[in-house]
Amino acid sequence: MTAQRTLRAAGLVVLLAVVAVFPLVFTNPTATLFAIDTLIFVIVASAWNMFSGFSGYLSLGHAVFYGTGAYFMAVAANDWHMNGSAAFELLPLAGLVAALIAVPVGLIALRVRRHTFVVITIAFFFIAQLAASNLSVTGGSSGLILPSPPFASATFNNPFYYLAAVLAVLTVALAWLVRRSRYGLQLRAIRDDEDRAAGLGVRTMPVKLSALVLSAFITGMAGALWVYFIGTAYPMFVFDPLFDLAVVLMAFFGGLGTIAGPVLGALVLEPAQQWLTLQTTGYESEILFGALFLVIILFLPRGVLPTAAEYLTKGRAVLARRRERPPGQSPSELAESRGGSSRS
């Protein structure tokens, strides 16, 4: 096991090193643009997973928090005349606003479970979209334009890239901490059987709500960073139903409720989607995206990582059995040794 842990740590170091030097090697702005998009989805997919993957409450309304953060950023940067690195100081504030929105949303939506919860998150999404298209503070359907950051054009993308990278690493680390903690255990107990969890003394509502608020906080920051990067906020792009679907797909692809799963999903699917969009017209990429989604759900329902882990365990068990069984062992002895190992 220690060899595996060393291997895992080495892999992590290599991954972090690649993330750190990526913009120095690939200076092409299109490459860094893809990379920033991907990192933002790493953040959001991990944050989504921290709530939905751990608790089993599938949210299709995270765009509400993403969009709230984005619009807060757009309005605040304009009204308070903040630009450049000063504007980055608004990110935690944007996260806070998204977290504040998550409190009433959670108080209403988390009273119901399963289908009804999913549907209510969708409804909140539509309310947010409607509000953004009609309120005057968001500029309505004509949108808002953010101040353009005073960065040198050759390395324009780099501050965004590194900020997104730092946020992504922090989010994944936080997800890891949550999963290992007593709190994470409570969340997963809720996922497996909420009534039993409540019976065992988990205060389910505060646990669920705080997970949603935490997730919304991170998602809001990601939205704010993204909108400052692209420079415009339109209701149809800020509140995009495909955004929710993409995030969910990433988590499912990698493995719902795991730490590395959403990261892997974002790293694979976001560049793939960007590439598809470049290669095809908008409608074709929508069809392909839907088809890809169906393929993943039908053939990899538990995600790449859990499926791979299962095969690995199976393979190891076969090897171990072969090693265990010396040529002359009788079947009854074998059954005994197997029974013993399964009980332990």
């Binding site: 289908h115 549907v119 069809i287 169906l294």
Partner: protein, 293 residues
């Protein structure tokens, strides 16, 4: 002002009948299969486009065209069930089926965009422009025909559910799938047919929707599904009668608010839903009440 209110109420009630029909399909599928078909909205739009093509290009009367579009939508529903819903099993089935329906919706939307583009189209049949003069208002004929058609279909659904052997199998499956299987009901077949029926009604809903709405695009599916979901949640999932009441209530309320607040009228749907859920999480006509019928 008085005639405006009369018109709003008339249009709201009559239009509500059509939404009730679409929502009935959604809630029936939920009751039997325990899935939420979020593709229902885009399926209605697909039905509307089918009627549009038949009428505008092949010059088939809208009502005669239903003889083609209803079986077609029924077939599409059965195929969707067989290919994408039936294989999904296990503990995550609830969320998986919902996502699968969402993916199907995306594919249909993409195909519609490809075929018809993103411009608004409308079914301009004589029946959509003629109107009758009642109670001091001019009401387009299509509202009356659409409402009548929706009521007939809902009555037919009820008769099927409560007066036929197949309906008995459907209700048994709704109550307890395992027990239904044990007494020899082919649950997969019942599920496939129910999904087909739930989709088949979108052909009728689509034809009327396409005629009473000023125009539609493939994007209209989002607007429709958000209303339909609000209706079935407000009614309580699985309740057909509740969906009827909720649909009429919501569309009438929306039409009334629309008189003085056109931009926010659609928010009535969501607000009503959220207020009800905050008070009564199982919806107005919760599942248990329906099961007791």
């Amino acid at each position: 002002m008085g005639s405006e209110i009369t018109y709003a109420i008339a249009a709201g009630v009559l239009g509500g009948g059509v939404y009730a029909l679409m929502a009935a399909g959604l809630t029936l599928v939920f009751g039997v299969l325990d899935i939420i078909n979020v593709a229902q909205g885009i399926l209605v739009v697909l039905g509307a486009y089918l009627s549009y093509v038949l009428y505008r290009h092949l010059h088939i009367n809208l009502f005669v065209g239903l003889l083609i579009t209803v079986p077609a939508m029924f077939g599409i529903g059965v195929v969707i069930y067989w290919l994408f819903i039936r294989p999904l099993r296990g503990s995550e089935r609830t969320s998986m089926t919902l996502l699968a329906c969402f993916a199907v919706a995306l594919i249909i939307e993409g195909v519609l965009y490809r075929e018809f583009g993103s411009n608004y189209v409308s079914i301009n049949a004589p029946v959509t422009s003629a109107s009758v003069h009642v109670l001091g208002i001019y009401l387009p004929d299509i509202y009356l025909y659409g409402f009548g058609l929706a009521v007939l279909t809902i009555v037919a659904l009820y008769l099927m559910l409560y007066r036929t052997g197949f309906g008995r199998s459907v209700r048994a499956t709704m109550q307890n799938q395992t027990a239904a299987r044990l007494i020899g009901i082919d649950v997969t077949r019942v599920s496939a047919l129910t999904f087909g029926i739930g989709t088949g009604v979108t052909a009728i809903g689509g034809m009327v929707y396409g005629s009473i709405s000023g125009g539609f695009t493939p994007n209209s599916g989002y607007d429709l599904i958000s209303r339909l979901l609000a209706i079935v949640i407000l009614a309580g999932l699985g309740s057909i009668g509740g969906a009827l009441a909720a649909a009429v209530f919501m569309t009438t309320a929306e039409a009334l608010v629309d008189i003085w607040q056109p931009t926010w009228a659609v928010a009535v749907f969501y607000l009503a839903m959220i207020i009800i859920l905050a008070v009564r999480p199982s919806g107005l006509f919760g599942r248990r009440a329906v099961r007791a019928q």
